[in-house]
Amino acid sequence: MSTTRERILQRIQTALHDGAPTGRLVAEQPTTEPVLRDYRQRDEAPRADIIDRFIERVTEYKAIVRRVEEDQLAAAIAEALAARGVERLVISADLPEAWLPASITLLRDAGDLSYETLGSSHGVLTGCALGIAQTGTLVLDHGALQGRRAISLVPDYHLCIVHAAQIVGLLPEAMPQLEAAVRAGRPITFISGPSATSDIELNRVEGVHGPRTLEVLVVI
């Protein structure tokens, strides 16, 4: 007796090559045309314009976005956390302590924090893999400075740092940079603004299950 797997594969082969088991039309031999990829592969605009566009589009999703100089990063983080009233902050195990104000209780995750601990924190600080200007998207590949997926999901406030050099123009520029992480078995998360829904009368409303506030520091 054949397995379901074999039966399905057999039905596919019959459908593609030997005519129709149930339909009337007999399929011809497959004639695969090449996939033309003549859509835009790269944004040729000046770097400054691409970074401006990234900031503009992330802002449109109702995220808070600020531009900071490299040497002011720690001050900007302290300011953001203070404005939000964050006292207990989740970070990944590899995030440099020098970025963070001494007054804050750090919940450093080495994959061991419980969901309850994450849920009762006041927020999370992470880096990211890259940013996409065209769509205003942050991409996490859960590598350096990002930690496992749960830490940037359960807390209600996500502060994310992206360096200007990490920002690309178009989605086709981003995908090749993510492939290594995928081949290493890591998950990928695309984040475009705070969590939202369009389920009520098809209008976007911010703030459902994921972090309800997303703040982004763009390091120039």
């Binding site: 497959p30 033309l36 009368e201 459902v208």
Partner: protein, 487 residues
Amino acid sequence: MSDHKKKPTPTSVLIELEPKFEQNAPAALANTQLRRNMGKATQTIRAKRANVVSELSDWEELREAGRAIKAFTLEHLDEQLIQLEAAVQKAGGHVHWAQDAAEANRIITGLVQAHEAREVIKIKSLTTDEIKLNAALADAGITAVETDLAELIIQLAGEHSSHILVPAIHKNRAEIREIFMRTLGVRELSDQPKELAAVARTHLRRKFLSTKVAISGANFAVAETGTVCIVESEGNGRMCLTLPQVLISVMGIEKLIPTFRDFEVFLQLLPRSSTGERMNPYTSLWTGVTPGDGPQEFHLVLLDNGRTDVLADQIGRQTLNCIRCSACLNICPVYERTGGHAYGSVYPGPIGAILTPQLVGVEHAGSLPYASSLCGACYEVCPVKINIPEVLIHLRGEVVRQKQDEGGIRAALDPENVAFKTLAKVFSSRTAYERAQSLGKVGQWPLQHEGYIKSLPGLLGGWTATRDMPTIPEQTFREWWEERTKA
């Protein structure tokens, strides 16, 4: 009855057995609240989509690439599935194959029972609606909790979905407020969307943090790497994909894309076509199991359930390109007016009108290919270029042929059959055609009014029930031509 071979009665896909769109539509059209809600929602989403699509100068190139990638996938579906299976297994996942809804439900129920779970959390999934998974789980004493906001509204209201992306599209904010107050025991609640969303957040939080098993569909799966993708907005998807110990994902065998790079096409096409956004809030990609991150047990269930029949039809096959964006529903003048329930299928709207009859057989859903004016708007907006009008016409042919095949007295007396047989005779001879014209000119006299016939008698009345018919003119073209050459 003839001995025409019937497929077994479909227990999946259809919400009503043998839906009759033409019988369901008038009630939907008479529901003014429904028409207001549908009109408002579809107009909003159409404007948003048009706006973000016009922003991309290379939209047509992206559509063409999307179509070509899907065509390639389907032409190599067997190899692609074998490749996917190997990649998922290599990454620590398990792969199951299910020929029909019953087999898929058996596999999933068994997996949930093996973990002794009495409750599972679910990400909105059309494929699980198609196989009626929630009912199958309930039969086994397992509660399936829907976590998508619209899906939750529907579940609490005890209704069926009416839109593939926004199942509660037929409900306005006041109606949603009423459902939440009635079913969740919320005492004070306004109809502000923000407050309504907050209710869902509170209601589901504990379940996300404590439930052991999650079930999802899949938007895409990459044959090359075994990577599976879920596109969502609320974060309920991320919760289900990240926090439980076990993840079970069900996907139709056509949801494949060959390479990781292909995401660069579909992640541009899908959000702009579905919610009219440059990008949806969250997209998750995962490959098998990642040690220390997310569920440590992953099962992928590959579902046929009629798809190989669709694949076998050279014209119908393009239906399997569908990425379930719902742009064709939102643009369709028929769907906008009737809403989704009139289709009686898990898949309503233009895509449902071609997918449903192919999955279950035209003999069970023969009215759906007629639920269209063939205006072609659906084809224009389809991000993977499914020529829906072409498939509709092809299926109408199938419906007629299937009726004729039934044979016997029923087919011989079918008024449509008789009418078209007569027409074919008249149209095939010049003298018969001209004689019919002269007869018509005389016969139409009592029926006409200012150049139009508003109502034909008897069985012919069906034609004029929804349209006026122009009268045969005093002088036909042929008569005019003859006169002109004589002069």
